[in-house]
Amino acid sequence: MSNNNMKNALASFATGLVFALGLGVSGMTMPQKVLGFLDLFGNFDPSLIFVMVGAIFVHFIAFRMVKKRKTPLLDHQWHIPTKTTITPSLVIGAFIFGFGWALAGMCPGPAITRLPFFETNTVVFVITMLIGILIFRKVDKIFKLNK
């Protein structure tokens, strides 16, 4: 099992590496480009649409092909989300995330990819992102929001 764990880790690392390269090439590591997309009624930059089209086009096809297998290559089961209900948390959480996304033009992936540049704002963003996660986990525990 530990041998497989190392292989799983390697596959994860490769995923992260290639993902970051994709973000860089696509321009999504540039907050201004992200903001340009959200600036629908101002200086609109449609790049993000093309990024999503490219990503979904590839992964939609790949997903269907891969999922035909009984199991993944390095695991004995699939770990794909199965929830189907549209919950208030889903929608409200998305709204809150979207707002934050617009404020800094960054979401988790691009933020970590930009981290090696060690700009103050990126570091601050990542730190407070972790704090935000922890705050929600506490709130969720108290109010049992995500059941």
Binding site: G16, S26, A55, I56, F63, H79, A104, T128, R137
Partner: protein, 141 residues
């Protein structure tokens, strides 16, 4: 640049390829907010693949610094407080909403998840509204 959309498409395809690696080998979706959230559980059996992914992202960033530093242009001229609030909202919102642009936007939509479609539409809508509001408040020029 007129070639921007080509790069965007290619970069997007690379992203689509990357999450296929995670799916094929580990049987998992690549929801970055979820991966990070899981790290904070500090469960021994669950840490290695998650931390490895984050290290991969970081390493990709390092690589980009050398081979394609242009990727790090386009920073926003905002205060640290502004960035801090953004981070808080992103952290809070992604965990509450069970995902972000990678998990819902790419992986979720690719597998035709209605939850992900609704989430993606919602966070894009929220972003658009936020920019309009920030403009009106004079935060963005």
């Amino acid at each position: 640049m007129q070639e921007d959309w080509v790069l965007a498409l290619i970069g997007g395809a690379i992203i689509g390829l990357s999450v296929t690696i995670m799916l094929l080998f580990n049987g998992r979706v690549t929801g970055i907010s979820g991966i990070i959230n899981g790290i904070l559980n500090f469960q021994k059996n669950d840490m290695l693949w998650r931390v490895s992914f984050v290290l991969g992202l970081f390493s990709g960033g390092v690589l980009l610094r050398f081979i394609y530093p242009h990727a790090f242009n386009g920073a926003l001229n905002i205060s640290s407080t502004h960035a801090a609030v953004a981070g808080l909202l992103v952290g809070f919102g992604t965990v509450m909403g069970s995902g972000c642009t990678s998990g819902h936007g790419v992986c979720g939509i690719s597998r035709l998840s209605l939850r992900s479609l609704i989430s993606t539409i919602t966070f894009i809508l929220a972003g658009v509204i936020a920019v309009v509001a920030l403009r009106k408040l004079g935060v963005i020029l």
